[in-house]
Amino acid sequence: MSWNRHVPGLSGPRLDRTAKTTVAFLAIVVALFFVLPFVGLAQRAVENGGFWDLATHRQTREALWLSLWTSTTTATLAAVFGTPLAYALSRSRFPGKVVVDGLVDLPIVLPPTVAGVALLTAFGRRGLLGEPIDSLTGYTFGFSTTAVIMAQMLVSAPFFFRAARSGFDAIDPQIERVAYTLGASRTRTFLRITLPQAWPALLAGIVLCWARSMGELGATLIFAGNLEGKTQTMPLAIIEAFSGSALGLDGAIVLSLILLGVALAVLTLFRAVAARGLRQP
């Protein structure tokens, strides 16, 4: 559908041209700003050479694998726990709901390093829950891969939750009521009516949450630490390479490109799947 047909200000042919030129100019400026840094990375990687050696370096492979599986776990957990909660929050009416909505979004505003410190105060060795767990079982979260997932969860899950909420909000509750009057149970209605309709929004939320987890750095550094093969995800390996690890600055650039490439592939795949899901009635 063409949007400009319904906008009166854009109807005249002369204005149309002015608007188009302006939009084209803005697009070029924006494109330069967003594309040039990536072009710079790629150019530097080509210039430096040794891409393949750095890309297949043990540290690179370990970091990429760790990033992929922790991010996928985080996104899955966010979807499993977040979907019912987002639905409940979307359908319920209670005083102070605005406050709850705000609280849910809060981690988005939180700087990741602060999120890391917050995690320490709760689950750290001297934390509210971490201390009793440590003294009872001897288990500590810090420096473990579990801590990596927890850090990603706190920072990324709100992105899924937000998307899921607006997905459920967009569905007319009237349709669910019709299903109930036709004798469908609440669970059946949710699975057969609500979920399929909210699916594109949920999928978008999962992708956002996954992508944010792939890029998570600050909270992971503070709460999980940085050790190859255990807590060193791609962003951590990149930062360490930047400050002079064995991979060096060339390695930091190659790792960044791999992270971007893998993320782009996954995001495109998801988008294609989502688009197909949308077309099906």
């Binding site: 906008v7 009166p8 200000g9 854009l10 005249g12 204005l15 002015t18 608007a19 302006t22 939009v23 100019f25 803005l26 400026v29 320490l120 750290g124 060795r125 001297r126 500590t140 810090g142 420096f143 550094l221 503070i222 630490g225 940085n226 050790l227 190859e228 807590t231 060193q232 930062i239 360490e240 930047f242 400050s243 002079g244 690890s245 064995a246 600055l249």
Partner: protein
């Protein structure tokens, strides 16, 4: 007519306004950049670009950026204030971080005027590319083991190899991370060492490679780690939150801090003035107050 004017070109007007604002901001940003970093030479040509001396002035005038090792954070902040007080026309901005990360930033053309590194290796990286002038050692520091005050299985240096100890070090490229590993190697040296596998066992307890010395300290302060290796000056900053376990002198190293002006400095005379101040009695007194030696 007024109605028409209002209705039709509204979108274009908005776009034009946005564009004008964006352009204004862009040019403003560029303008201020130009004036600040006057000789914005690329790293390749740096060797040939001599800092342009301004006509003889009685007083120093200008803003400088000092790239300084993370361990210098507190001492240099005070030093900077004292320098500004002594030279009213100057302003000092600091960029603290691991010396290795700072060296990379300088190498990548980040504008700065002075580099104070916690080891000679990272200063050499910068000097080898003709990005810094001749360095002078201005301070020394001693690595120590820190443990949380709330309790730790590490009571002595030898305890670092106890199974289950959560040890945190700075990454190997970071000066203190490099010093830490040298100390371990010294402790496992065949003659007079603690045991041949000391280094191997201690590194098996390593839980995290931190970005800089202050990150190591934070991990110990929060009690997440049982032990970490930082400088004596960092341990002093942490106060009662940590306890210090000395490293036996025969295994320990002395950290020497070199300082140099950066070749691309836009205010070379202020940069040189700052270094002179660091080396002066007043500057050395501040460094001593924070536990640095010379």
């Amino acid at each position: 007519m007024r109605l028409q004017l209002r209705r039709r070109p509204s979108l274009v007007l908005v776009l034009a306004a946005v564009l004008a604002t964006a352009l204004a901001l862009l040019t403003a940003a560029c303008g201020s950049d130009d004036s600040k970093d006057a000789p914005a030479a690329s790293p390749d040509t740096a060797g040939t670009t001599a800092p342009t001396p301004t006509p003889a002035k009685v007083t120093l005038q200008g803003d400088i950026t000092v790239f300084a090792a993370a361990s210098l954070t507190d001492a240099f902040k005070e030093l900077g204030k004292a320098f500004e007080a002594a030279n009213p026309g100057t302003h000092v901005t600091f960029n603290f971080g691991a010396s290795s990360a700072l060296a990379t930033q300088i190498d990548q053309g980040q504008p700065g005027d002075v580099f104070a590194s916690a080891d000679s290796a990272n200063m050499k990286k910068v000097a080898d590319k003709n990005l810094a002038g001749p360095p002078v050692i201005f301070a020394t520091n001693i690595p120590v083991v820190v443990v949380p005050a709330s309790g730790s299985p590490v009571k002595a240096f030898e305890d670092l190899v106890k199974p289950g100890v959560k040890l945190v070090l700075a990454a190997p490229a970071v000066p203190i991370g490099n010093y830490s590993r040298t100390i371990f190697t010294n402790a496992s040296a065949a003659s007079g060492g603690i045991s041949a596998d000391f280094s191997e066992k201690a590194l098996a307890n390593l839980k995290s490679n931190e970005a800089d010395v202050r990150a190591v300290l934070a991990k110990v302060q929060t009690g997440e780690a049982d032990a970490g290796i930082v400088y004596a000056t960092d341990a002093a900053v942490a106060g009662a939150q940590v306890k210090t376990v000395p490293i036996p002198e025969k295994y320990n190293v002395i950290a020497r801090y070199p300082i140099a002006t950066l070749t691309e400095s836009g205010h070379a005379e202020v940069a040189a003035g700052f270094i002179a101040f660091v080396l002066s009695d007043a500057g050395q007194a501040i460094l001593q107050k924070y536990g640095f030696g010379h």
